[in-house]
Amino acid sequence: MIAHLAASFFCGLLFALGLGVSGMTQPAKVTAFLDFGGDWNPSLLLVMAGAIGVYSIGYRLVLKRPQPLFPGKFQIPRLRKVDRPLAIGSAVFGVGWGIAGFCPGPALASVASLQREPLFFVASMLAGMAVYEGVERWRRA
């Protein structure tokens, strides 16, 4: 149990270090990457190449095991059908990403800087997530 929690902590730490080293925690770099019509900065393409390269090999090796290291089963999403919430939600996310240059991971790691922008961003992002859960609960009731 403790090892399982320590592993979660360690993966979060390594993930945040990767985000910082790669430049993802600098919103100006992110918006420069998204600015295809202007002074385009391709460096985030290399972030994706590194991450997808390592994951696409590593994930196939890991899934050769019958189960994860800690008790439990592999939980890989099996749903493959594209639907409306997926498209609308991703579009809404993209609009917010373009405005602030933050996606959830880099914003969360940037909380440690105690700057005003990541603090306000993460607080309102959590509020947006809570609103989603509230709407879902209301719809199911």
Partner: protein, 141 residues
């Protein structure tokens, strides 16, 4: 190290953290899903999420002291714009079931059609918003 090499190395660290997370816990490393799950209050499903968040913020603290430039926020964004963006990112990633990590890295590596559509959608909308801000609004909102 140059910007492009750092971007690639950082990307590899991001991929490695995601592979280790799958190996240890059997789950997809998706930051919006890990955060959003905190609002679902499922039994025995909360503490590991807080450990991951604590790990990410600790990684941010390490970056703050070793590489302070990782947290430069140089965009001209009002508090209102940041808060709006945070709400959109929080709600959108939950509705669309993932963000840059879960869809953009893990899902694309698995050739998941849902994740590939999500990634093109949030990048497309992000690019459109950045275009409007940088080229029509003079770079500030």
């Amino acid at each position: 190290m140059g910007e492009f090499l750092l971007a690639f190395v950082g990307g590899c660290l991001i991929g490695l953290a995601s592979v280790l997370f799958l190996l240890f816990n059997g789950k997809i490393l998706g930051v919006s899903g890990i955060l959003g799950g905190l609002f679902q209050r499922r039994p025995n499903d909360t503490v590991w999420r807080y450990c991951f968040v604590a790990g990410m913020v600790s990684g941010g603290v390490i970056l703050r002291f070793t590489q302070p430039s990782a947290f430069s926020f140089s965009l001209s964004r009002s508090v209102l714009a940041i808060v709006t963006a945070g709400l959109l990112v929080g709600y959108g990633t939950r509705l669309g079931n993932g963000c840059t990590s879960g869809h953009g890295i893990c899902g694309v590596s698995r050739f998941s059609p849902r994740s590939i559509l999500a990634t093109f959608t949030f990048m497309g909308f992000g690019a459109a918003v950045v275009f409007v801000i940088n080229h029509w609004l003079g770079g500030r909102v």
